[in-house]
Every structure is written in C-alpha cells, then in structure tokens.
Subunit: 347 residues, 2 copies
DNA sequence: TGTTAGCACTCTAAGGCATTGAGTGCTAAA
DNA sequence: TTTAGCACTCAATGCCTTAGAGTGCTAACA
C-alpha cells in the first residue's frame, strides 16, 4: 500500500474528524482544522488516491469522505496513538470492585456496567465456560423438614448444585448422613457420562432404596452440564447505542436488538474471536450481517493460563478506537486480578 | 357517565379498529366496517359526545379519533369480551415447561420468553422475593484440594450459598468435618443479625482457630441477604416493541429502554401493583413518566398463599387487551403450578 | 325529536420545484 | 508539485400546491 506521510496524516485527520462529528469530512475542513500546510486542492488530490486505495468513501458526489472499514483497519493498525485511562477512570474502576461480593455473576455485571459507562457503547460480558465434563466431588443430604431433604452436589470444578426433595416419608438427619455416605462412595469421582453409561444399572439395583436421591442427583448433574451460569451473556448500556447518530434509523436498531437478544449467537461470535487476546473487529470483519456497521472490541479473561471467557464493547464502526481499546484491555486485566482474588477454584 | 348502548358500541368499534390499524378512526370507517345501522353523521354526533366525556381524542382537526387512556379503561372495565387462549397456545405453553430444569432462573426466563412470544410485546418477570431474614440451616465444609475447602451454607428458605476458601495450610476432610460440626452447633438456627449483634465476639473468641471459615460464612450470608437471584428482573422481547408503530420515534425508544435498564425502578413499579392479583395499568395510571404511553398488565405468582413476585407484559396503550389479559393470567396460573411442582421449599 | 344528507372548512401528507451550499474533479498557471 | 479558479453535482431545505380524509354545522326529513 503506497502511503506517504501526508496521506497518513490526511487519513488520520479524516478519521478523527469523522469520529467526532459523524459528518462526512471535506477537504476544506481538513485544511482549516488540521495544520497540514497544504491547500484544500492538494488534499483533494490525496483524498482521491485514498479513495482508490479503498480507505475512504464518498456517500455521494457532493459530500465529503467517510472512512471505510479498511480505513479504520489501517488507522487502528498503523496510525492511532495508544491512549491511557485517565486517573479518575482508573479510580472509578478500582472503587467499583471494592466491597464487591464474591459472587461471580455480580462481578461480571459490574464489569459490563463499567465498560458501557466508560465507553458510552454497549458492553458484552460472557460468563466463564468450563471445558471438560465435571466430576462429582461430594454429595450431601441435609434434613430441611420432616419429609424433606436438601440434596447438594459439589462438582470438582467448584460449582455447587442443589435441590430440595420430598421423600414422602419421614427421614432423620442420621439416615440422611448414611445415604450421603453410600452415594458418595458410589458416585464421587465420576462424571455424568460414566454414571449414565456404565454403572447406572448396577447402582440402581444396589441402591434401589435410594432411587429418589439418585434420580435427583442425576437430574442436577444434567442441568449443570447443560449450563447453569454458563453460556450466559451480560449486556450493558444497550441504550447507549441509541445516542449514536448511526442508530437514528429504527431498522438498524431493530436488527441490532434482535441480535443482542439471541444469547447463543452472541456467544458464538465471541467464542470465535477468543484466544487471540485483544481483538478489534471492524464492520464486515465481524462476519455477521447484523453488525456489519459495528465494531466489536473484545479481550479474554483467564484464570491461571486457562481462558475462561471474553468481555467486549460493541459500538458503531465510527468508534473512539484508542479510548475503547485502552478501556477493554484494562478491564480484562482488572477482571483477571479479581478472578484470581476470588479464592481459586481447583480443577 | 351517560353512556347509551350505541355509544358503547361506537366506542368499542373505535378501540378495536384503532388497536388493529394504529390509525385514527373516522366516522365513515365505523359506519362501513361495523354494522351499527346508522349513518356517519349520526356517528359523528355520538363521537362528539364521547370526546366530551374524555373517552376519545382527536390528534388534529381533520383526523379521526383515537381512544384516550380513559377510553381504554372504560373498554377494559365494561366493554371488552374476555378471551381464551387457543388450544395451540395452551399446548405451546405446556410443552415449554416439560423437561424444564428445576432451576428457578431458567423457568422464569422461559416464562418471559413465552409471554413476549405470545403477545408480541415486552415481558417482565420478577424473581421471587423473600420476606424475613433467613436463618442458617446447615453449614458444611468439603475438602476440594489439599489447602482448599468448599464452604456451603444452607439457609432455611432453601437457598444454598457456597464459596471455596484457601486455608493456607493443608487440612484433611476429617478436620473439616470437625469444624463443620462446631460451626453448626454454634451458628445453626441464627440469622445474620443475631450473629452479628449478639454472639459474634463470643464465638470469635471461642473459635479463633476457625476464623477464616466464620468470616467466609458471614460473607456468604451477607451476600445472600443483599440479594442473590432476588430482585432480579428478567426481560423478554424488548425488541418486539420496535415493531409497534408508536415506537418508530427514536426518542420514545430511548426513554423506554433507559427505563428497562434500571432494574430497581422496574422492581419498584411491579411491587407497587402487587397484591392485587391481575392488574391493568393504562398509560398515566402507571404513575411513571417514561411509560405514560404504555400499558402494563401484571399478575402475581405465589407459593401456597404467599405472593412471591409478579410477571407482566408491557406494550403500547394501544394493546390487544383481551388477548394479553388472558395470556398473563394463564401464565401466572401455570407458573403457580410449576412453582408448586418444584419440590416445596419449607419455611 | 332523532337521524341524515349536504356542504364548507380544516389540516396533514405528499409531490413538485427552485434555491442553497458544501464539496468535488479538472484545468491551467505558478 | 502545488494551488487557484471554475464548472458541476447532489442532498437538503423551504415553499407552494394539491389531494384527501375527516369534521362540525345546518337544514331537511321521518
């Protein structure tokens, strides 16, 4: 790509101006506002070249230029000056996590809120996903009422599932302890597949008395595999988008919102970008018709070296790239710390 | 209110037509489409009366009439013919709850989805709220890894809270059993306030060794009081609203969405309507500027006789009242059954 | 007395048309 | 290579006209 210094400056000027004003940028504007020391005519010539290169476009003949997806890409890769968070932003973030409950869900919600608040775009936060099927670590029965027992199943990934069971007959805590022991002996260390496929019949036979507990435990396991907190997507600041001039068109809002309501699709998009650390997907790079006018900036968060999930910000391609990149990057780092501070979940 | 039969028929016709078309209804339309056996001129005279009564309004001189909030109110209270769900709708609902996990969150999400799908409006589902502070039913420690223990706290309301604790030193399952016993003996049956205010110092002194577990348990309790699943609001079909012509105006969408993002405000609105069974709040009756053009239809769901929360549908005042009322009412009943089918949580 | 036909009147929506102004590309001169 | 000048393009704006829907009023009618 044949880009001299002046072209770069002009492209940067166009993009910066357009990001600010959301209006097509003309040659006069650039020559007036950005001191390039050349006349509008010269800039016009350069702009014609930039258009040939596919970096900028003209909405119609008598309008100024707007950056193309490719133009933004070039800007992000080569022209943009990295930004830092302001001290007040950093402080806001720090304060937000103080006194925060240990609950993962709340932390993720807060993270999303912060991102949308700081960027004025929409934030997307993906709940942690776990890889392999989990094994039963421990089963415990607790008497809740004469005929009712609370079944608790602890998995080795650190998740806990529970359900109250009505046993029909009165049953003592001591009895329940006994049942717990038996169930533990038989089931601990197994994942659901194993239980289902190989040992089920045997145990059922042996533990016929405890069928009701077995069934409940298996039901819980099944639920937990399917997804509990997992696969959840937290959105924040959706309505920030409506303040963007590009979404003054109802149709666009509709397609965007309909996408955002489909958690599974979002999940898939995020997962596709995952594993590359911080990613910036501009317009069509998202490979998704519904957000072909949007840029998504995502980063992953981890525990130790395992990637747990992604967080990201979705906004129009006309986005304050430097600022948002700084924020998403920072938030991912903070989230890493917070996840580590939550007492470790052993695997 | 001086309403003869013909006025009632005309009002009903205006409202039904307007609900269908979203266009102001003129006298000619009514005389043509609804067989009242009178000429447009007569209808005009009656319409003038209805306008004096405040039941209908004119957007401008040369337009037809549209119902006012008061008009809808009269319609709902006196004119509307109750509807039933269609068999296919009922079946859809039934099928949706089959094979549904026992998890309350998922059931509520599904309920919201169903309501928005069936009505084409936005659904709002409030998670169950509990009344009195909960007491500790059982505390259990489980060894997860050499230096890590899972703390599980079961409350008497049937909720379970858990956290992994890093103990620093290696600790055996037997030790943990021992600690569990002690903690249970001291803490079971108490709610957090009691623990905090009266016994804390004593126990701390006595159980200095177990401080780390105590702290974690208290932390969990605190979290759970604050709200876990509670106070959560599930929204569904928000973007359905964008298909309504009244929301082709971006400003209205903005105010609506900004309201829907404030869970606490929604919560408050729902709680205010609660306890009256099925409620229909039309336009300004909502006492809320942001949704003064919307109607909210809510119903409560219960366990035994205790009201747990509300579900509802939010749409434009130009709403298919009979249909939506039937659906919300039905869904509340179904939800009651489902909640009861989930094994009872003793109090 | 209630109903209706007729008619003048009002007001929005839509279309046509000229004007404005921002911005371009091209050409020729510096 | 840069720039001034200029003709050209095209969306946006404002103004005007027209069409059409609907009303309220009046007077005639049953």
């Amino acid at each position: 790509m044949n880009m001299n210094e002046r072209k770069k400056k002009i492209l940067a000027a166009i993009i910066q101006d357009y990001i600010q004003t959301a209006e097509p940028v003309g040659s006069r504007t650039i020559s007036r506002k950005y001191n390039l020391g050349v006349s509008p005519a010269t800039i016009r010539n350069e702009m014609a070249d930039l258009e040939d290169l596919g970096l900028i476009e003209q909405p119609h003949t008598s309008a100024g230029r707007i950056p193309s997806d490719l133009g933004y890409r070039y800007y992000v890769d080569y022209l943009m000056e990295p930004e830092q968070l302001t001290p007040s932003q950093e402080e806001l973030i720090l304060r937000s996590y103080e006194n925060k409950s240990q609950e993962i869900g709340k932390i993720l919600v807060k993270t999303g809120q912060l991102m949308s608040q700081l960027t004025n775009y929409t934030s997307i936060v993906m709940a942690p996903r776990r890889g392999k099927p989990s094994k039963i670590k421990h089963i415990q029965l607790i008497s809740m009422a004469p005929t009712q027992a609370m079944l608790i199943v602890v998995l080795d990934n650190g998740s806990v599932h529970h359900q109250v069971i009505d046993v029909g007959e009165s049953i003592s805590q001591a009895d329940l302890e006994q049942v717990s022991k038996v169930l533990n002996a038989k089931l601990a260390g197994l994942d659901m597949q194993k239980i289902r496929l190989t040992i089920l019949n045997e145990i059922y036979f042996e533990l016929a008395r405890y069928k009701i507990f077995m069934d409940a435990a298996l039901g819980l396991l099944e639920d937990s595999q399917g997804s509990g907190n997992e696969d959840k997507i937290y959105l924040g600041g959706v309505y920030n988008m409506l303040n963007q001039p590009e979404f003054h068109n109802i149709e666009k809002v509709k397609t965007l919102l309909s996408l955002l309501e489909q958690e599974d699709v979002l999940q898939q998009i995020l997962i596709n970008f995952q594993g590359e650390g911080l990613t910036v997907k501009i317009g069509v790079e998202n490979n998704c018709e519904e957000i072909k006018d949007c840029t998504m900036i995502t980063a992953t968060y981890k525990l130790d070296d395992e990637v747990l999930g992604s967080i990201g910000v979705l906004g129009p391609t006309r986005m304050e790239y430097a600022k948002v990149i700084a924020i998403v990057d920072h938030m991912a780092k903070v989230l890493n710390q917070v996840m580590n501070r939550l007492t470790r979940i052993p695997r």
